[in-house]
Symmetry: C2
């Protein structure tokens, strides 16, 4: 029998056609399901990938991470080509490598970066409709950055968390938030050690309200203090959200290294 | 009876789902057909818009132009809102205005700008697959610009024209071509007074061959001189092509001005 090896995939996808990452019996069309079936077709083994981040329906990713175990003899770095041949065009493997069999992407010290992309013009660019949120009222980037400033650091983000969250603690650390504009496109870039259910989309919805002049930047501090979902703005729609990077703080995992458990 | 007025629309669209601009009895799903039906629903009048540029299946536009006549009392600048309510999300009116009843967008002195957009990386960005052409071999932008230089000016573009073209003359003037790179995205921007059938896509296919090292920039001069379609490179796929601007050289048309006929 071959040795069992663990393979790590870095995965990009257009989430438009999918009911999110997580495969469940009641949920067809998932990223996880497509990966499982593509790996099974390739290796002949039944597979259940372990994902790093369970993105929601319609959310996109450039750098999500998944691992799976295989007894196949395919070299780690060849899965990228072989799996792209099996996968639909809206899911692409951008990197594949062998990692330690004890490696688990959610047990490492990591930093995630999300971008929330907004098309801020009265009339939508039809070629951007699946990849940005359309917001027609003018957004003041200066106000949005001033508001975002209050979210940086360690806070209880209960106000910025879907009430259905099952997280034991709502304390998270945001390392950086930046709001930038390039023509009609406004991007909110958020980096942190972990995010609650809908957290980035509620932050985006809140910053858009403040950016259009409803509420002041300093009110974000009050919203945090209230620890009440109703205090924050609406949940911005899924199509604007991109998981852009899932960074392992102890370096890129390899076959002989493991990361610290946290 | 109301006076007949002529309305000019500036139209953006995602061409992915359409068989191009032109409505024909054998062609369902056209931009022109969607516009005709939306205007008919709004005004109750049967309408056949006159388009400025008949883009091909899968080609996108930010600034195509169409005119139609109406006896309705809707102010010219209100059609933009009213029609966007009737149109599918992949077609947006970005401007509407009343023009002289003698105004015809193809009888004016105009300049068109196309962009051909390339995703130049080994693995495709899945969110760009309908809006760029994937080209995996490294492209040398310096070589592409040097090659493009030979196309600027007035030339017989027979070598860069689909053999099914019915144009009486293949002489056209390219005012400017520029090739730029922003990360993995390479954009060929071409401005001219008129373009032959598939001309921008054949230029793009030829510049990509030279950019990857097949042929020298100076060979573009020989390709022009041969006046033979087989001398140029392949026709690049439709999804990378955007009609970005249709510019009226005598200024923005209005109800009391007409442009020169050319």
């Amino acid at each position: 029998m071959n040795n069992i090896r663990r393979i790590m995939l870095t995965v990009s996808y257009d989430g438009t056609a999918y009911n999110g990452w997580a495969e469940q019996t009641s949920t067809p069309n998932t990223i996880e399901g497509e990966l499982n079936r593509a790996i099974e077709r390739l290796t002949g083994e039944p597979v259940h990938v372990i994902g790093a981040s369970r993105t929601d329906a319609g959310v996109h990713a450039y750098g999500n991470v998944a691992v799976f175990d295989t007894a196949s003899s395919i070299p780690g770095d060849r899965f990228v080509f072989a799996l792209n041949h099996e996968l639909p065009q809206d899911i692409r493997i951008v990197n594949s490598r062998e990692v330690a069999t004890s490696f688990h992407p959610r047990h490492c010290d990591t930093e995630k970066t999300y971008e929330y992309r907004i098309f801020n013009s009265q009339i939508m660019d039809p070629t951007k409709r699946f990849y940005t949120c359309h917001f027609s009222m003018p957004l003041d980037i200066g106000r949005m950055n001033a508001a975002a400033h209050y979210l940086v650091g360690e806070h209880d983000f209960t106000s910025f968390c879907n009430v259905e969250s099952q997280a034991l603690s709502h304390v998270r650390t945001i390392k950086d938030i930046r709001v930038t504009r390039n023509g009609d496109e406004v991007v909110i870039s958020v980096t942190g050690n972990g995010f609650l259910y809908n957290m980035v989309r509620i932050i985006a919805g809140t910053l858009m309200q403040i950016g259009r002049g409803k509420g002041t930047p300093a009110e974000v501090k009050d919203i945090l203090d209230k620890k009440y979902r109703g205090a924050a703005g609406p949940t911005a729609p899924a199509e604007g959200l991109f998981l852009v990077e899932y960074k392992f703080l102890d370096g890129i995992p390899g076959p002989d290294t493991d990361c610290k458990s946290n």
